[in-house]
């Protein structure tokens, strides 16, 4: 797979001058030469530190996300994975460090412009609009493309009608794609958990994001549902070229899906590389099992 070439750790954070201040990384020491030119970068975090009144959630984390890659972030509970996504979506502001989104530098990403910046996300805990139907949840996320005024909306004419048709078409195809047809008009809040997770994914896709941040999209799902979700993620990347940042505890699933994996532990990035590299990384194994042991393969964390 070409992604594996792209995801070689050689060109990541190494461009930054202060890399030596970052915690020692087992993998990144072994620079693998690039064989092709890298895909364009969407996001780069440089030496991000995030603390909550003393509690350090992230420490000197540098990370890049490239167009169309599936980039997983793993680590034990409390490692700072969700904090990282919250930081990318501007919900948290870093205490230190820089964020580059589409080449533009941000001290803090403006959450209200996130969708316009091409970033969509799901939440670890369900965050649907429970009082809206599945269809309306998804349609609403199409809103950034809409310009009609309130009066036009009330009359349902002209621009409002075209925009409504567009939102309906987009939502309809996502409903088909994610197999939500049977619950299209049900209130989102009344659906079972796994279904709500899928609706959240559909809502995130409605604005056609360039980057999708998924915070444990498969948590609490049956193995069969997990497979379906994994398949959906692959299709999203293949069809729309969307970069996917995936937080997931099921290591098997992560290994199967990811182009590159970053490993967090106590807020530090302890490893970053291809699944093959992560699998054999002694620091990762240590973090997951507590001991360095040749045979031990990281398994499901929970």
């Amino acid at each position: 797979m070409t992604e594996e070439i792209l995801s070689a750790p050689g060109f990541r954070v190494h461009g930054t001058p202060n890399i030596l201040e970052a915690p020692p990384k087992a993998i990144s020491a072994s620079a693998i030469p690039l064989r092709t030119s890298p895909r364009p970068e969407i996001l780069r975090l440089e030496e991000i530190t995030l603390s909550f009144s003393g509690v350090i959630a992230l420490k000197d984390v540098s990370l890049d996300i490239r167009r169309g890659e599936i980039r997983s972030i793993i680590g034990p509970n409390g490692a700072g994975k969700s904090s990282l996504i919250n930081l990318i979506s501007g919900i948290y502001r870093p205490s230190r460090g820089r964020i580059y989104l589409n080449g533009r530098k941000f001290r803090r990403v403006p959450t209200h412009r996130l969708a316009r910046l091409g970033v969509a996300r799901t939440f670890q805990n369900l965050a649907l609009f429970g009082g809206l139907s599945v269809l309306d949840n998804i349609k609403l996320a199409r809103g950034i493309h809409r310009r009609a005024t309130l009066v036009e909306e009330l009359s349902g004419l002209g621009r409002a009608r075209r925009e409504e048709a567009d939102a309906l078409a987009r939502a309809g195809s996502l409903i088909d794609f994610l197999g939500l047809g049977s619950v299209r008009d049900r209130l989102a809040g009344s659906l079972p958990y796994g279904m709500q997770k899928r609706v959240e994914l559909a809502r995130a896709l409605a604005a056609e994001p360039a980057m999708l941040l998924l915070d444990e999209p498969m948590a609490g799902m049956t193995p069969a549902d997990k497979q379906t979700m994994a398949e959906s993620i692959r299709t999203i990347r293949a069809e729309f070229g969307t970069a996917v940042v995936l937080i997931e505890h099921d290591i098997g699933m992560v290994m199967e899906l990811s182009d590159r994996i970053a490993v967090l532990d106590y807020g530090r990035k302890i490893a970053d590389g291809t699944p093959a590299e992560i699998r054999t990384d002694p620091r990762v194994i240590e973090a997951y099992t507590g001991v360095v042991h040749e045979e031990s393969e990281p398994e499901d964390l929970r």
């Binding site: 959450t111 996130l114 609403l140 309130l150």
Partner: protein, 353 residues
């Protein structure tokens, strides 16, 4: 909601409102005495409208307001003053301008919603209540320096048509209520209405998908206050026929909050159900009380028992039916329809040999 309402889903959605409209315009005006209009129907309609307005803000957009009566007062005094001070201004224009005044005040008192949420925001709406009451009492200009603070409302007249008498005022209120309710019914189905619900259900997720959260909250406050303001103007012009601060106190604000809770939050029909109960309930209670207790049941006892019963009712609803009378109604009609359907089906199979 996907209630098992078999027969109902076969009927077009506009049929029931249309029938009600036909009755309200075509039958009711010829039906009752002036008591029906003056004591029941007109206040019912106006309180319903206020409920529709508050439901937009509280039920749909999720912001509790305890200042509804203040916006009604602004509507009433606004309409009075626009009408008084601008020569030849048609009554409907005065009422619209009054609604706009209430909307502006609603936006001003909605500004704290940028920072405040839930309980704290509700408390800040109390400020609106006391501020408006104070201003209107303190500055005689608003009541045209009338020594008593009570002023007569102008007669209702539009394009040469006089809306005199109990039935005329009922029809005037009915028309305004129908127009505004239809607009709100449409609004909650548009993207803007969905944005209200999104901000209510998950503000952060709404912001993430690009809903302009603050603007949405202010818009909800503006439209809601406009409607409540118009309801206030109607209250003064079509119901009381006087303009005075006294009726627009905190009790009234709570009454409208209770009305939408009992009727059903985030439901337009709910406001009408709740208003019906709020208006009819005291009348029934006083009849019942007088019947059971005779002379002992004076107005003081009546008022006290009203408060007790209403309080009990609200608690009962919050516990047993948080979705209000509307949910109760939908369940009962669905059950009745199912029963009816099974009966006719049985009848049909009986006929077929």
């Amino acid at each position: 909601m996907s209630a098992p309402s078999l027969s109902k889903s076969n009927l077009p959605r506009w049929l029931a409102p249309l029938i009600l409209l036909g009755i309200a315009y075509g039958v009711v005006p010829f039906a009752g005495g002036s008591y029906l209009f003056e004591a029941i129907l007109t206040p019912f309609l106006i309180l319903s409208l206020a409920g529709v307005g508050l439901n937009l803000l509280t039920g749909y957009a999720g912001q509790l307001s305890l200042g509804s009566a203040a916006f009604m007062a602004v509507g009433a005094f606004g309409a009075f003053n626009f009408n008084l001070r601008i020569q030849g201004l048609p009554i409907p224009v005065s009422i619209v301008l009054a609604g706009v005044s209430a909307a502006l005040l609603g936006v001003a008192f909605g500004l704290p919603s940028l920072r405040l949420k839930g309980f704290y925001l509700a408390i800040s709406t109390l400020a609106a209540q006391f501020f408006v009451q104070w201003v209107l009492t303190k500055f005689g200009w608003f009541s045209n320096n009338s020594p008593s603070g009570v002023i007569d409302a102008p007669a209702l007249q539009v394009l040469g048509i006089h809306f005199d008498g109990p039935v005329g005022r009922y029809l005037f209120a009915l028309t305004v209520v129908v127009v505004l309710t239809a607009l709100v019914a449409r609004l909650v189905k548009t993207r803007t209405g969905h944005q209200f619900i999104a901000v209510r259900d998950h503000e952060l997720a709404a912001r993430v998908i690009g809903v302009p959260v603050f603007r949405t909250k202010l818009l909800a406050a503006a439209i809601s206050s406009f409607i409540i303001g118009v309801a206030g103007a109607l209250w003064a012009f079509a119901y009381l026929r006087t303009v005075e601060v006294a009726g627009f106190n905190l009790d009234r604000s709570f009454q409208i909050v209770f009305l939408i809770i009992i009727g059903g939050l985030a439901s337009i029909r709910g406001a009408f159900f709740g208003a019906a109960l709020i208006v009819v309930f005291p009348l029934l209670l006083s009849r019942l009380g007088a019947f059971l207790l005779g002379g002992v049941f004076n107005s003081g006892v009546l008022e006290m028992s009203q408060h007790i019963f209403l309080g009990a009712l609200i608690i009962a609803f919050l516990i047993a039916e948080p979705k209000g009378l509307v949910a109760l109604w939908d369940r009962l009609t669905a059950r009745a329809a199912a029963l009816f359907l099974s009966q006719t089906r049985k009848a049909n199979t009986d006929i077929v040999p």
